[in-house]
Amino acid sequence: MTLSPALPQGGGRRVDPAVAVTAVILWALLGLFILYPLGMMLYRVLSDGQGGFTLSGLATVLTNKHNIRAFWNSLLLAALVGSIGTVLGFLFAFTAARARLPAWLLMVIDAAVLLPLVSPPFTTAIGMIFSFGPRGLITYELLGLKGVTVYGLTSTMFSEVLTYFPIAYLTLRPILAAIDSNIEGMAMSLGASRWKVFTTVTLPLCVPGIANAFLLLFAASLADFATPLILAGNVFPVLPTQAYLQITGLFDLRGGAALSLALLFPALAVFLLQRYWVGRRQHVTVTGKGAGSTPFDSISPGARVALLTFCASVTIIVLYFYALLLYASLVMAFGANHTFTLTHYRVVFGEGMRAVKDTLFIAAIAMPLGGLYGLLLGYLVAKKDFVGKRSMEMVSMINYALPGTIVGIAYLIAFNDPPIELTGTALIIIACYIFRYGPTGIRATIALLSQIDKSLEEASAGLGAGSSTTFRRITLPLVLPAFFAGLGVVFIRSMTAISATIFLVSLSWTLVTVKILENMTELALGPAAAFSVLVVVIVFVVIGLIGWVLRFFRAGSMRVTSILGG
């Protein structure tokens, strides 16, 4: 460990040399892998090629009618997904927190809700095509409809809502759970009906959380590349797919970059709103001694049945999609020939094996580095005093906040030519993952450190431990859960991400998710389903392992799933 932190002390602002060195190294990395690519992309879009500044590149792209439509489509889709997904997430969270479900039912809901979060892209899209496509299970087999088009706004929205509503659930459930039930009981004792309690106490207390969930979903939908690529089709173009097609179809890197810049402004606005406005408006409702296990009937039996029925239906739809995926991976050709076969898995473990190995290799490298990056930067920002630490935290969040399309295009532009030529290497993909998904670990570390009372480190010093011993024996073990959680997120995303890395894969290094996309475009849905099943299995195994490791640490209750939401 390069850190030998001094005890936090009153007046002195002497900077520990170890802290200074670490900060300088981190700044160099942030500069190279976050600021430099972004700068290069802006330069490429705004430069006229002779060292001058021009808006013509941007103007050409942004005055194109098709692209203007794509811009408004993106916002419309994001707003719809944000609203519907938040409502869905709230109902789930409310049911989980208030309906007094038996433990096993909560676990089923949690697992079903977790599935979309850790799945490779296209999963729900594949399910939509299998169900509602021209030869779909529901449209064709069940209803006997012919010539149905599944492509367009409705199915894209439906698919994205199913994929992203768990984010809202994970954001809102802790907020609902943290509302002291005495507060609701108090309102009831003052004469309010259950519905009145809900509308005048519970709901208002959740408003900041609801706003937060909406913004998170809005951002996720805005950045989503995989779903619209498959389901939106030509009728409903959106920005991320337009930028991708501009580059891969028309080989117009500058145009693609300009398009992705159009995405940057709404994405940045949403991120800043979420972090610096809504994030600071959470109500604290834990007042002194909590109600503990005091039972409280906050919902009527009828409402309970309605909520349960609703959640069960949604859960069944999610599970149905995944059952469909598994089934499709095991039959010859879904919708035409339902003979059982392992052919598709032979493809996966045959010609597809290279992509699987590449993905695992890249994930295995990115995982520890991303975890370490999150731990170091989080520790430095939370515990140390040095010039520019606020801006360091801000900069570290940029790649996390921006849609993957922008990050991917920026990397493509920045690292294609000397001085730093990384295109075609595994390093470019690894770096992309570390700086795009490491911030989850940073936030987890900061959150955990803020829970650790200063007196713990003082107690250690008082007992005779030096500052490095205190760090090693007290602080480090207490933040390790954040390290493992951050590590888990980097791994999961390395297995499932596509929006940024679609621009970074090469002949020498490819990824499973890209393989799934290739199979989808060739209409080889069987192998696509088999690849997806494999990814889901690997991710679940790794989550299980990390959960097992986390159980060894008694501090806090950090769960990988709980930080996937933020």
Partner: protein
């Protein structure tokens, strides 16, 4: 456990400033000077924000003073980091390491001193026995009650045989019954081990129960130092009088200065006071009357006409063998089991007195008129208000 050679702690002119958002520059501690005798139990007492915790943290080395020195056994430790001072510190929130078991928590300080494993095991077992936690070795703090956690924190602090034991409001997270029990345990343990101890609390009763001497602080400064007896009977300032125990402050005027006492006139009666600061005839002063220093008596020294004007006949059940200084009317009372607290109205001044329970017949009725006599030997004087 072995008795540790006690250490003298001297604090000289310790000051610490900080900048307050509204008040500007404020002293958290201002020129605090204390001399703690070897093996003494000293308590820093004061309201929240009085600087007692800041002072303690500077003694521990968690904070650096802007001025002044801290000496342990004559050695200047002002700039010695906390981990080299050999102190035992007990935090208000206990600060148990949540990822370590009870035994590991207690062993932590011993490991820092590179003590052999076998010896560590022996000493951990010994100290856990001492604080009554044998069998708790493999528990974690999250599984324990507040009182048990408190004992672990105590064991962890004393097992290293510290030169000085420091407590920062260690009992404030416990319920009232446990607080009394733990404070007695802390006091017994400290006596047995003989470690010089500095203890911070805002609870005057706790301070009186455990301390050899009490330091009363307010707004960063030391107002008074003394035993509980001295501070209670001769508070020296209104703040101390009001902070330690309950008090009636009655305005009075010096009538006569005698060789060993002073006669003052208060509420129309003459009271002779033994313990008094330097005063001259004609000075305005205040009598410091503790609730138990005023007793109820049937006899009336003041003019009968005046007594009659105050509300008729005295209660015939009252027994006393001395003349009353004043008459007063019972305004309200609170029954507390072993005692009854009364609020009396005496010539426009509200007096608070306490009578120990001598059976239901001795209870004074609300509205009754009684005579009051001051126990003169228990009275002291303060200068006039605002001086």
């Amino acid at each position: 456990m072995d008795v540790i050679a006690p250490v003298r702690v001297q604090i000289e002119g310790l000051s610490r400033r900080f900048v307050h958002r509204v008040k500007g520059e404020v002293y958290a501690a201002r020129d605090v000077t204390l001399d703690v005798a070897p093996g003494e139990f000293l308590t820093l007492l004061g309201p929240s924000g009085c600087g007692k915790t800041t002072t303690l943290r500077m003694i521990a080395g968690f904070e650096k003073p802007d001025a002044g020195r801290v000496l342990f056994a004559g050695e200047d430790v002002t700039y010695l980091p906390a981990n080299q001072r050999n102190i035992g510190f007990v935090f208000q929130n206990y600060a148990l390491f949540p990822h370590l078991s009870v035994a590991e928590n207690v062993a932590y300080g011993l490991e820092m001193r590179s003590i052999a494993k076998a010896e560590i095991g022996k000493r951990v077992a010994e100290v856990l026995e001492l604080v009554g936690l044998r069998g708790y070795e493999h528990q974690f703090s999250s599984q324990m009650s507040g009182g048990e956690q408190q004992r672990v924190a105590l064991a962890r602090a004393i097992v290293i045989r510290p030169r000085v034991l420091l407590f920062d409001e260690p009992l404030s997270n416990l319920d009232a019954k446990l607080r009394v029990q733990m404070r007695d345990e802390i006091r017994d343990l400290q006596r047995r081990l003989g470690i010089t101890t500095i203890y911070v609390t805002h609870d005057q009763e706790e301070a009186m129960a455990v301390s050899d001497r009490i330091v009363v602080m307010n707004q960063g400064s030391v107002l008074a130092v003394g035993t509980a007896h001295e501070l209670y009977h001769r508070p020296g300032s209104e703040f101390v009088a009001r902070f330690i125990g309950r008090v009636n402050l009655v305005p009075a005027k010096v009538k006569e200065v005698l060789l060993e006492s002073i006669r003052v006139e208060a509420l129309g009666a003459v009271v002779e006071v033994g313990m008094a600061p330097r005063v001259a005839v004609g000075d305005e002063v205040r009598l410091v009357l503790r609730p138990e220093a005023i007793v109820v008596t049937p006899a009336v020294a003041v003019t009968p006409a005046k007594a009659g004007a105050q509300g008729g006949e005295l209660d015939p059940r009252l027994r006393g063998n001395d003349n009353a200084h004043w008459t007063a009317k019972v305004a309200s009372r609170v029954f507390l089991g072993e005692k009854m607290e009364y609020r009396l109205d005496c010539a426009g001044i509200s007096l608070h007195i306490v009578r120990y329970n001598a059976g239901p017949a001795e209870v004074l009725e609300e509205g009754a008129t009684v005579g009051l006599r001051v126990i003169e030997s228990a009275v002291s004087l303060l200068p006039k208000e605002g001086v």
